[in-house]
């Protein structure tokens, strides 16, 4: 048993195209550190240089936005599902900004 992280397509080039990753961690912050260790470069897309979550990227833990839980200190446990949703511009120019 572990935490399931759903990787949106714009970030999958960091994860060898895997869309679901299983990790074990105690908090969302730890989860991101593990993710970075496994897939270097990925969290630069998610965090500001000071470590805060970028404000156009949302992370949901079992459907709840972590901004309204405890942010990166939000606890996760076995069976938790974590979704990462970056804002995408998209549309006719197929522009990705995340």
């Amino acid at each position: 048993m572990s935490v399931t992280v759903r990787i949106p397509q714009p970030l999958r080039r960091f994860t060898e195209n895997r869309d679901v990753i299983e990790l074990s961690a105690g908090t969302v912050g730890e989860l991101l550190e593990q993710l970075e260790r496994q897939y270097p470069g990925i969290t630069e897309r998610l965090r500001e240089p000071d470590g805060q979550l970028r404000r156009f990227v949302n992370i949901y833990v079992d459907g709840e936005d972590i901004r309204f839980l405890s942010g990166l200190a939000t606890e996760v446990r076995d069976g938790t599902e974590v979704s990462i949703i970056p804002a995408i511009a998209g549309g006719s120019e197929s522009v990705l900004r995340c």
Partner: protein, 342 residues
């Protein structure tokens, strides 16, 4: 009402005859008639939504045809503005639908006027600057609007009902960095994801217009047609918790922006977009005469193309301009100042 035309849709019980009558009396605006917008326009026109305002600042190009289902080879050859091409095709699809094409840049000056007399606003834009403007105007005037975006095989959509659901700023607090930033990639796009996102958006619009409010999906939907995944995150708790400038404080920062001509790099297109000036209407013929000695000028019905020193400027009557041949915003601004000079 022509019952025969809509018979299969009337048989669908959730719409029925009364729903169809409501659709025919409904008014919608599509902001951005590119890939998503063209698909929305096609579906809403066939469904018999009585009035469609079609707003777009761009013209049809050959590279659009792979995914922008309203346009054809000859539209690209003629560089027809997308709003006009859309309106012409809708006239061939369903004569019950009245259209109002608007070839213009959406900005803080015209957005409120564009949305106040419609029942629903559909997002077909490709940038967050316009989306936050739509969000401010819709929250201010209590208009429902439907966000949608797609890249690669991945798409996102969310339906915003001001005062009821979270708005775009409740969910994404900050505008993503400009397209010129190093985090900008062009990932390409395939038509099926466009049609999937547009289909969800249009279904939501049909529910809103026929009064099936309880059937709205109420979350943010993530879809990936290549992975065949469909994922919905509920946003139920977001609104009461977000300290949103628009919803909670009724502060509409994007509507209050002071008039400043903005430049935006069109990522992956080697082009810069210079925004329009609001309520101006340029005499393109006069500008064409002035530019003729300086380079190659082509004057079309709705736009002017000017080629000089390897750059190509496409100017529209509201002053907005697409400058090809550079991604340098300062250079684009200076070309604009030198040749258009307004």
């Amino acid at each position: 009402m022509n019952r025969e035309k809509y018979s299969r849709q009337i048989l669908f019980r959730e719409i029925g005859e009364s729903g169809q009558e409501r659709l025919l009396r409904s008014r919608a605006i599509i902001i951005g008639c590119g890939a998503l917008g063209a698909a929305q326009a096609e579906m809403l026109a066939r469904a018999g939504v009585g009035f469609l305002r079609l707003v777009d600042r761009d013209f049809v190009e050959e590279s659009n045809l792979q995914r922008q289902i309203m346009f054809e080879e000859r539209d690209a050859a003629e560089r027809l503005p997308k709003a006009i091409a859309c309106a012409r095709r809708i006239a061939r699809i369903n004569a019950d639908v009245q259209t109002e094409p608007v070839v213009a840049d959406v900005n803080y000056k015209n957005i409120e006027r564009l949305i106040t007399d419609v029942d629903v606003v559909l997002d077909g834009t490709d940038n967050f600057e316009t989306r936050y403007l739509i969000n401010d105007a819709c929250v201010k005037h209590g208009k429902p609007w439907i966000y949608g975006a797609a890249v690669g095989s991945y798409g996102l959509t969310m339906t915003i009902r001001p005062g009821v659901t979270p708005c775009l700023r409740c969910v994404f607090e900050k505008i993503p960095p400009p397209a010129s930033s190093p985090t900008c990639d062009t990932a390409g796009i395939i038509l099926p994801v466009i049609l999937t996102v547009a289909s969800i958006q249009v279904t939501e619009a049909l529910k809103l217009l026929t009064g099936s409010i309880e059937k709205l999906h109420g979350g943010v939907i993530q879809v990936d047609v290549w992975e065949t995944s469909f994922h919905r995150v509920s946003l139920q708790k977001v609104r009461e918790r977000a300290d949103c400038p628009a919803c909670r404080h009724r502060r509409f920062e994007f509507l209050e922006a002071s008039l400043r001509q903005s430049a935006l790099t069109l990522c992956g297109r080697n082009a810069v977009h210079i925004s329009g000036l609001g309520d101006v209407s340029l005499d393109l013929r006069e500008i064409a005469e002035r530019l003729k000695p300086l380079g190659e000028v082509t004057l079309k019905e709705f736009l002017l193309v000017f080629r000089v020193n390897g750059y190509e400027l496409t100017l529209f009557p509201d002053g907005h301009c697409i400058i090809k041949g550079t991604e340098d915003m300062a250079l684009a601004r200076s070309l604009y100042a030198r040749y258009i000079g307004i």
